[in-house]
Subunit: 450 residues, 2 copies
């Protein structure tokens, strides 16, 4: 049976299996959701056993378990390590979802649920294809699945697991479907990623909050200090004002710039997709440069003082901020984090106490242009979509890509089927049914020719 | 009999009556305590009837009842409206009390109980003095008592009550004992209060939060915009940068400045009391000027983006801030709020959507220097304490003072007997027995000469 026909004939059972997994609120960022995260892992392992994968098991880590399974019956043929994650982002703010985040539903050709596109939907496509190829006796490649539960919290326990299970994970390359296409209808291969580093800090101006009547006007206010400090991080031209932040950042070559121009990227479409009220970034740079090739510094969250309803006339004594930086190749994450910490300490007044925690970081990534898997993926995508794939980069980070290169020496093929406006990490996350189907056809072709 | 001797001879019955009221947990902020609040009101009314007050009654409001009683048998003499409140703050955290908050006890010359100083203790002093003066046939002034049960929750129902009972409350001026002395042993008259106005706003840069990998570097970040906007509100010298903010603010006269200097105020003590890591305010101003005579603008709370545990790489689309300003006499609260709104709109970039709500405000208060009640109070305090009273101000607001001026056209005499370290609104609230006794002697003299 033709892959497309076979996959279409099994659409209902695929959706049922996917919805079952999407219904489990495996929010790894929330400690109280740990039982749900484990439930998702067990559910996934059961599914993998059910479709004929072997050596399926949960591997305990310092955090949420890793799910592994393989099918190694193609001697002499390549071994592909498929990586994905079964954990998801928190669904807040809940009020902005049109349908509940953990009650998957199809509307207008889209699957709506937290995790629909990031990454349960995309990860399950590989399992449905493996299921079909095994059932059809058509699986002529060796597959290992490594599905983790901590991608949304930084994959802290994955590197130790990979380091201590190198034999289990031996492969020729890694394939990940956790990225987006640039535009509807045109498949994409992602050849570049940004890295990340971050810091979280608490700023204190007093032992406790103070009454603004008794003390207002004569003591520092932590909210004011935080605002002033955050305001020093960028220049009015949109660039980052942290000293040393741009050290090592490569400028685009003329060839890369030409290739960017050929992608038919539209600022208007990007703006519409974003839902932002305007574009804003480093002056003198195009939007694609800004999101693919330039490092950024973003406050992801900040708070101080009274957050409840009504009025409370306090002078806040504490303020908090969470910051992450997106990094590009040749920036050193540890150096950038240290530069950020230095900047914060240098710009805080003497009376401000600062407690800064900088987490581990990741560098950026650029694919090897001549790798055979890249060629195989191009053909498979062309076959499924009838169009040459865009060669794109991503402004996001996939820390595991750096980790697989570092620990296993493997390159990673990033073949993603999401769309840029699918609200990942936001309310009303969804995944296009069209890309769900065409993507599986592409993956089937890919595994046949890889 | 001499007032001091009479009052001392009745000390035991005064303490018994006060303790009975202090034992009732009339916590107005906790809805489940409503029956206790009402019990306190009834108890108080019974006590007022018992000492010979007339027309004693509970008046229902939209919330907790008002207790009223009077003694109007001094034709041709002034009528004094005594205001106080029988409700108290919550006692939490209970674990920090040395003795239970609603089991009043005397230790080291202090009455320990929730409400001891704020305001049951101070309010009952007026009733004990009235009791003694009536018993001695010595009450030569007309007294009206207005004791409310919602002071700790903002007195929302008091203004409507006062507005609809103007005849019942007709008087020459108001007396309130709900403020503190500046230092032990020296009585005080409070002649100035700050007013207040405020604004709460929401700032939006996009329809929803955005993924910092996909969009970071190319769209605005609401947290950055909020920080930049908050940072424009003050100048580096600590002054408020809002145009028109200081319109109408009076400079201290040399005489007022001298009087401030004589108060023996210590920055070191103030800093130690505050728990702040440093003093900070408008440069070129003393601490007393800053908290008593200068308007302030404080962010009481602000937040944006992800506030949970861990990392979430969002670009926040919304940010919120709550601001209140402490105002001084001759500032117009509505104008200051409007100036703040104008400032926020002027300093926000075009792509930022701002939703601003400014609430009702209160002007500051300065006593009329030549008012006869002020002179009578000075003499009475001198007679009781053997010392001239400090003429002080308060950085906080007492909204009823503005309300009495607005609705009844009456000035308010603020003659308080608390001390600054008596833990009002905190565990181990207490009230000095010395000020309880001397204060009653002062009130007796005051009512004789008023």
């Amino acid at each position: 049976m033709d892959p497309a026909a076979y996959l279409a004939a099994h659409r209902e059972e695929q959706l049922a299996a996917l919805f079952a997994l999407l219904s489990i609120p495996s929010v790894s960022t929330e400690p109280e959701r740990a039982p749900d995260v484990r439930r998702a892992a067990n559910h996934l392992a059961d599914f993998m056993r059910g479709i004929g994968l072997e050596h399926v098991d949960l591997y305990e880590t310092g955090g949420h378990p890793v799910v592994y399974g393989d099918h190694l019956h193609a001697p002499g043929r390549p071994t592909v390590l498929v990586y994905g994650h079964y954990d998801v982002q928190p669904p807040d703010p809940l009020a902005l979802w049109d349908t509940p985040p953990f009650e998957p539903t199809v509307r207008d050709g889209k699957i709506y649920a937290r995790g629909a596109t990031d990454d349960k939907g995309q990860m399950m496509m590989h399992l449905f294809v493996a299921q079909g190829m095994i059932a059809q006796g058509d699986l002529q490649v060796n597959l290992r699945f490594l599905i983790e539960g901590e991608e949304e919290i930084g994959s802290a326990n994955l590197a130790p697991f990979v380091a201590s299970h190198k034999a289990l994970l031996a492969a020729d390359y890694v394939v990940v479907s956790d990225t987006s296409m640039l535009r509807e209808g045109v498949p994409a291969l992602c050849v570049g990623l940004r890295g990340m580093c971050g810091a979280e800090f608490t700023l204190r101006t007093a032992e406790h909050d103070l009454h603004s009547g008794l003390f207002g006007g004569a003591v520092p206010n932590a909210a004011h200090e935080l605002a002033s400090l955050i305001a020093t991080l960028h220049r009015p031209d949109g660039s980052v004002a942290v000293e040393g932040f741009y050290d090592g950042v490569r400028e685009l070559t003329p060839a890369e710039r030409d290739q960017f121009d050929r992608l038919g990227f539209s600022d208007e479409e990007f703006l519409a997709q974003s839902g932002a009220f305007a574009l804003f970034g480093e002056s003198g740079r195009t939007t694609l440069e800004r999101v693919w090739t330039r490092p950024t510094l973003e406050v992801n969250g900040m708070w101080s003082g009274f957050l409840g309803e009504g009025r409370k006339t306090v002078i806040p004594s504490e303020a908090h901020a969470k910051i992450t930086c997106r990094l590009v190749p040749d920036q050193d994450p540890a150096k950038v984090a240290a530069a950020l910490e230095t900047h914060l300490r240098r710009h805080a007044p003497a009376w401000v106490q600062l407690e800064i925690a900088t987490g581990a970081g990741d560098g950026g990534y650029l694919a090897e242009p001549g790798h055979p898997a890249l060629a195989a993926a191009r053909s498979a995508l062309r076959a499924a979509y009838g169009k040459d794939p865009d060669e794109i980069r991503m402004g996001g980070s996939i820390p595991v890509v750096t980790m697989f290169r570092g620990l296993l020496g493997l390159p990673t093929l990033l073949m993603g089927f999401g769309l840029p406006d699918e609200n990942l990490h936001a309310p009303n996350e969804h995944f296009s049914l069209e890309n769900f189907s065409k993507g599986m056809v592409a993956l089937w072709h890919f595994y046949q020719s890889a």
